[in-house]
Amino acid sequence: MRLFGGKGNYAYACARVKARKSFLLSKDTYSRMMVMDIHEIGRFLGETQYREEMSLYGGKYSGASLVEVAVTRSLASTYSDVLAFTTGHLREMVGNYLRRWDTFNVKTILRGKVSKASNDEIIDTLVPAGAFSEEYLKTLVAMPSLQEITDSLMKQPALRLTLEMQRDVVELGKLAPMEDHLDKMLYYDLLDVIEPTKNPERLLRDFIRREVDVTNLKVLLKLKAERIPEDRIQRYLIPGGFEYGLDKLKTLAQGGDVSTIVAELEKSSLFEESRPALERYRADAHMSTLTIALDKSLIGQSEKFAHFYPLSVLPIVNYMIRKKVEVDNIRIIARGKESGLSSKVIEELLVM
């Protein structure tokens, strides 16, 4: 569905994104941050592209919380800038890709309200980079009850919430059905909107389909590890994967246990670069070892496709992914240092 006229300013947008990529932190910078304490990390970030947010929130937060809030808000600001300097069909694709942040924001607001977080805390964790404006999100946060918030969300046609989901949230405090619905709708809509008419769009669509594969595999691994029966797994599977269609996933859900799925993963292209992760999983049996490897594999895919068509939507999507990875890495280092995690553990969590 095309909302904007014109193809888009690919050359301009890609040039801007290329310039911004030069400001991304390098591996050496992460190594330097690993030997700093939390205050030094804060001072260091105050001298980088995060200086504005570090100053803005420095009065309200400190330590790892300041770092987390500052980099999250910087991410939102970056995405808004990227959306602002794109036009036409390019802007439509970027906008649709960023709708995942609407899902994230709605879940954060609902979870924040259920967990009695303060309005300020919830607002500072939002990433207003999707279709919902920051003003609308702040209005939702300011609403006193879950009933009012869900009434407002029910009016958003893109979310397609049902009365049953609203009842679950308001009367029973059950967020799970709504959250899973939102996550599924995100991928349904993305795959629907990105038309594979040209090679860049087809590559982007394939990338989204790989993302669906990774999401489905993570869900399967988690649920199989808990020995959840097959009929209860099916409702969480998302159709449209690149390597794993719904039928293949249902077969994996029916048969065997986690080891069957891991054996299947070894044959998958997603695990080409993840052999060490597989060996580590066999040693420690931590599901997160495998799922981190799947996420890294997906990010590796985005690095590859960014070079195929340098004047397309792909480098822009790649930049947005790398920016998110940078923000995640900074948060991992800051929170990890604050909690006393060892350097070895922190390094294993970083994506570089």
Binding site: M178, E179, V219, L221, K222, Y236, S288
Partner: protein, 213 residues
């Protein structure tokens, strides 16, 4: 009971002898109870020590997993996942009798919730949060077991102390006093007997002297 307050009569002696016999029986039984309680205590002590070590290990793991989840997914995501839980643990408390000591029997349910019943969405929640939840569930289950064992240990210790004090009181105060009373009565009775014999001899001698005169 002061020895001087006792009437040195035969009935009193019989009563005192009966009390001594009773006290010695009670002392023997209490010593057996004390020894039995101590054995039971050491049994539970080993289990409690192992459980404490297990808790220390589980706590360390749980802290690490939640630190990782907070680092990777953010603090609000972790906190809100915790509050999204719709299944709450239940504790059932009963009591049982262990060598005369009333100790608790604690059972728990719904501490471990299946992944798809925890209340947060499955698709969008990271496995790090799941692992943190798993770790804390194991920790809470073990803490409940430890609560039963350690409360039982505390109650046994109190009862052992009480029983020890009673054993010592019987052994070092009550029995010696009773034996002292018994000795006193016997001594007095013997003295009275000697007095009687002497008096009777004198009367006999006087009577014999009168008759001769």
């Amino acid at each position: 009971m002061a020895v001087r307050e006792i009437q040195p009569t035969r009935s009193e002696l019989l009563e005192t002898t009966r009390k001594i016999r009773l006290t010695k029986n009670g002392h023997k039984i209490l010593k057996l109870k004390r020894d039995g309680l101590i054995l039971e205590f050491f049994n539970i002590l080993d289990q409690a020590k192992n459980l404490r070590q297990e808790i220390a290990g589980l706590y360390k793991t749980a802290k690490e997993t939640i630190a990782i989840a907070s680092a990777v997914d953010g603090v609000i995501a972790v906190r809100s996942a915790a509050y999204a839980l719709t299944v709450h643990p239940e504790i059932q408390l009963r009591s049982r009798n262990l060598m005369g000591v009333v100790v608790p029997e604690i059972t728990s349910s719904r501490i471990v919730a299946p992944l798809d019943e925890r209340g947060y969405g499955i698709i969008g929640t990271s496995p790090r949060i799941d692992e943190a939840a798993d770790a804390y569930e194991k920790l809470v289950e073990t803490v409940v077991k430890a609560a039963e064992l350690e409360t039982t240990m505390k109650k046994l210790l109190e009862e052992i102390e009480r029983t020890k004090r009673r054993v010592n009181a019987l052994e070092f105060k009550v029995l010696p006093e009773l034996e002292e009373i018994e000795r006193f009565i016997r001594f007095r009775l013997e003295e009275l007997e000697r007095d009687n014999i002497f008096r009777l001899k004198r009367i006999k001698n006087k009577t014999a002297a009168k008759t001769e005169a």
